[in-house]
Every structure is written in structure tokens, then in C-alpha cells.
């Protein structure tokens, strides 16, 4: 009977989705391996075995990015875009377009569990998407316009600007973030009341129904519109900004804000990503291997990796962001001609210093930072 019960569980979401995806991934990569073995390589072309290895590498990387992003509570794009822009020579428009697809897919993958459990508030996501979608579309159009107008200088400026943003996010995370788990709403304005945006949900950790309130929905919309512009322009997921804006401006409980921002990023980036698709900035074969890894990693992260010590993940994430920020700023300054190319040793030294800081933070040897995490 037990085996039967387990079998039935495997055929129900989310395990059904993971089983299907795993089967397709295994069969596809086996097929790729068989096809590419012994295939002829044209002059100056890349061998099919190398391409297969590259695709599999992207798949593994996307799995790790997605799992870390879910555990850390940020979008996958926030990790992918800065890292790729900092440490690969790939054109920024291609990276930003792919970053948006990654952010969108990690949001979509987490939508099912969040809506089913009731923690995610679809009304809140739909309302916020009205601002985020418009902002994101404007941001994406702006990115394409800037890329057409500014050429190599624009690439440098974009890298430096993104380096600054990533550094700010890392410092924000280092402080633990200013968040309130259960905000107390003193006065609900007429507009928010008219919207009727809230809905009660069962909070497992408290074993009770939480019937929360919201306020300042108008300002919340302005905030999500501004966040959408940054997200669309730089190809980032924007969970790091949406969660605090919902939590601090609209006074939504932290858990609901996290879940609803995931739903919103999936929904909103469906608007934002199309300008990149129509401009040819999304190269199909380059993007394809990321999707399966994102899906499997996202669901695994949400259901299994939740047991991992979140503090350690947070420090590793901060380390990755600081190193990406260093790479972005230096690469931007080099391409603008302000500094000469740095020797490889400089990057290794920066990486070692950051890694030492991360290890010290994990074992508790660094001074504690403020915040209410």
C-alpha cells in the first residue's frame, strides 16, 4: 500500500512535472551524445561534442542558479545577468534578454506551488503587474534604443551602472534587509479598501488563519512601475526590490510579499521579454538549455533545499554579487578606456578576498550587521 501511495504522489504536481522534465532531459542529452559522436566538423566550426558539452554545462548552471535563487528569495536573473556581463565577452543585449527569460521562468515555475498553497495573492500580483508590466516594457524598449544609439561606450556605461546596482543590492542583503514579517496596518485608505486586494490564508508555521490588511496601494503601483523600468532595462528579475516595496509600502506580510512577487515576475516579464525576442536579442539555441534546469532547480529549491541553512546561502550570494560587481565596474571602466586591462591575478586576488570574507561570515567571525532578518 505504501509503495502504491508513493507511486501516486509521483504522478501528482509538482513531482509529475519534475519526473517528466527529468525523463526528457536524460533522453535528450543521451540523444545529443549519440548524434554528436563521430559527427564531422566543418572548417573553423565548433565540434558537435563541444556544443553538447556547452549545452549540458548551461543546463547544470541554470539548475544551480535557480536552486540558489529560490532559497535566497531572489530572481534567477539577478544572479545570471551581472555574472555573465562581468565575466564573459558576450554582447550585453543577448545577456540581458536571456536574463529576462531566466527571471520570467523562475517566476513561472514557482507560480503553481504559491497559488495552490494560498500564500501567493493573485489579486496583488495582477494589480502590481499593471505598473510592473508598463515599466518593464518601457525599460526593455529603452535598452534596445540605447544599444542602437551608443555602441561600445553604451556597453561600458551599462556595465558600470549595473555594477553599482548589484553592489547596492549586496550591501542591502549584507544588512539583512529592512523587512517586517507581520506589519500592522493602522489605517486602510479608501482606494486600497475599494480594491479589496487581500485574502486570508492558512499559515502553517503559526497553525492559524492569517487575515492581513494592505494599505497605500497607489504608491505601491508607482513603486512597481519604477522597479519594472530597471528590471526591463538591465534584464534582472526584481524580487529584491518588489518584496521590500510590497512589505514596506503596502504593508503586506513578508511571506505573502515573497510569494506574490514570484507570481508577478513570471507574469510581468511575459510583457517585458517580447521586445527582446522581436529584436533578435534572444538566440534560441543559447537560451534553450537554461529552461529545463530552471524548472527543475526552481521546484527542487522550493521543496527540498528549504532545509539548507539560509544564512550560509545568503553569504554565498552576497559573495557572488560583490565579485560580479567588481567584474562589472572594472570591465566597464576598461571598455571606456579609463583604466588599462587588469591582469588575471587581480581578479584572482579579489575573488580570494571575497571568498575569505564569505567563509569568515559563515563561521561567524565577522562582526554582525544591522537589520531585522
Amino acid at each position: 500500500m505504501k509503495i502504491q501511495a508513493k507511486n501516486i504522489k509521483l504522478f501528482k504536481p509538482p513531482w509529475l512535472g519534475i519526473s517528466v522534465m527529468l525523463a526528457v532531459v536524460i533522453l535528450s542529452y543521451l540523444a545529443l551524445l549519440l548524434i554528436s559522436r563521430g559527427a564531422e566538423t566543418p572548417d573553423e566550426g565548433m565540434a558537435l561534442t563541444s556544443i553538447t558539452g556547452l549545452l549540458f554545462g548551461f543546463f547544470l548552471l541554470s539548475f544551480v542558479i535557480s536552486a540558489i535563487a529560490v532559497v535566497a528569495g531572489i530572481g534567477g536573473g539577478t544572479l545570471f545577468t551581472p555574472f555573465m556581463l562581468a565575466f564573459t565577452p558576450i554582447d550585453s543585449l543577448i545577456i540581458r534578454g536571456t536574463g529576462l527569460i531566466i527571471a520570467m521562468f523562475s517566476g513561472l515555475a514557482s507560480t503553481g506551488p504559491f497559488t495552490k498553497s494560498g500564500i501567493g495573492n493573485l489579486k496583488l500580483s495582477i494589480y502590481s503587474c499593471c505598473g510592473y508590466g508598463i515599466g518593464g516594457f518601457i525599460g526593455a524598449q529603452g535598452a534596445l534604443w540605447v544599444a542602437n544609439q551608443t555602441g561600445i561606450n553604451g556597453e561600458g556605461i551599462i556595465r558600470i551602472a549595473l555594477g553599482g546596482i548589484v553592489l547596492a543590492i549586496a550591501l542591502y542583503f549584507l544588512r539583512g534587509g529592512v523587512k517586517r514579517e507581520w506589519p500592522e496596518v493602522k489605517k486602510v485608505d479608501h482606494f486600497t479598501q475599494w480594491l479589496g486586494i487581500t485574502q486570508p490564508y492558512y499559515e502553517k508555521s503559526l497553525e492559524k488563519v492569517v487575515d492581513y490588511q494592505a494599505t497605500r496601494a497607489g504608491w505601491g503601483l508607482v513603486a512597481t512601475c519604477s522597479i519594472g523600468i530597471i528590471s526591463g532595462f538591465f534584464g534582472l528579475g526584481a524580487g529584491w526590490a518588489i518584496v521590500p516595496s510590497m512589505n514596506l509600502i503596502m504593508e503586506i506580510p513578508l511571506k505573502v510579499a515573497v510569494a506574490s512577487s514570484g507570481i508577478l515576475i513570471g507574469m510581468g516579464n511575459c510583457i517585458t521579454v517580447w521586445p527582446y525576442l522581436h529584436a533578435g536579442a534572444i538566440i534560441p539555441l543559447f537560451v534553450a538549455p537554461w529552461l529545463a534546469g530552471l524548472f527543475i532547480g526552481g521546484i527542487t529549491g522550493a521543496h527540498v533545499l528549504i532545509r539548507v541553512r539560509a544564512t550560509s546561502i545568503r553569504f554565498i550570494l552576497i559573495g557572488i554579487m560583490l565579485f560580479s560587481s567588481f567584474g562589472l565596474v572594472t570591465k566597464g571602466l576598461i571598455s571606456l578606456g579609463y583604466i588599462p586591462s587588469l591582469p588575471r591575478a587581480a581578479y584572482v586576488a579579489a575573488l580570494l578576498i571575497i571568498m575569505a570574507g564569505v567563509v569568515l561570515a559563515i563561521i561567524g567571525k565577522l562582526p554582525k550587521f544591522g537589520g531585522s532578518r
Binding site: 573553423e44 566550426g45 553538447t52 513561472l108 524598449q141 534596445l144 511575459c270 510583457i271 529584436a279 539555441l285
Partner: protein, 140 residues
């Protein structure tokens, strides 16, 4: 304590997104197999594509060098048998999933009691924004 009932609209949205997402990911996983099996039957020959990307060439240059330039975001409509056409089809499903799910959600909002007209209209509004974006309206 009784758990509050999850609104039908929310369940509908989650289900649609879940299955459309899986469909998109499956197609995008099979797509590279088709692309690698017949490298010449693609808009961009995989043998040369990744080195062009790694050289830092911009998208316009890459599409131009690999073929006759970018054929448009919806090129998959007439090229489903090619590897990159199939992948683009998968991407199109993923990138339009929210519009389909929101239309179904709007119907659920209309059927809920009491009827949630404003939420149905907001759902349809976002679905329309996604469709306009997918059709390439207001493209710079």
C-alpha cells in the same frame, strides 16, 4: 481550524501556468536535439553560432553572419521543422503562458460569487498587454 478556500481564479491561474511552463521547457529541451541532428537545417548553424556569441558580436551581426539577417520574432510560425524554429516556438509558449492563463482566470473571476468584475477586467487588460507585446506592437 478550517483553512480558507483558495479562490477558483487563483487555482485556475496556477494550473495553466504550470502545464504551459512544462510544455515550453519540454519543447526547448527537444529543440537542441533537432538542431544538432541536422546543423544545416537551422537559421543559425550551431557549428559557428557559439563562437560568434563568444566573440562578443551583437545580435544583429550574429543573425546576419549566420544567414540572411533576423527573420522576425515569430519566425517559428513557418519554420517548425528547424531546430531554432522549434525552440522559438517553445519560448513563445512560455512567454505567452501568462496571457492564456489570465484569460482563463478572467472567466473564473466572472463565474466567482460575488462576481469580481474589476479583477476580471484587470486580468484581461494584462493579457491584452502581453498579446500586444507578443505581436510586436510599439516595437522600436
Amino acid at each position: 481550524m478550517d483553512k480558507p478556500k483558495i479562490p477558483l481564479s487563483q487555482i485556475v491561474y496556477g494550473r495553466f501556468i504550470y502545464w504551459l511552463c512544462i510544455t515550453a521547457a519540454v519543447i526547448c529541451t527537444i529543440g537542441p536535439v533537432v538542431a544538432i541532428a541536422s546543423p544545416d537545417n537551422n537559421f543559425m548553424n550551431p557549428h559557428y553560432l557559439f563562437s560568434a556569441i563568444w566573440e562578443g558580436k551583437n545580435p544583429e551581426m550574429i543573425w546576419l553572419q549566420m544567414g540572411n539577417g533576423f527573420p522576425g520574432g515569430n519566425f517559428w510560425l513557418h519554420n517548425l521543422s528547424t531546430g531554432d524554429g522549434l525552440i522559438q516556438f517553445g519560448l513563445a509558449i512560455g512567454c505567452s503562458s501568462a496571457s492564456v492563463a489570465l484569460m482563463a482566470t478572467a472567466i473564473a473571476y466572472f463565474r466567482e460569487k460575488p462576481r469580481a468584475y474589476k479583477w476580471a477586467l484587470l486580468s484581461l487588460w494584462i493579457a491584452v498587454m502581453i498579446i500586444l507585446s507578443a505581436l510586436g506592437t510599439y516595437q522600436t
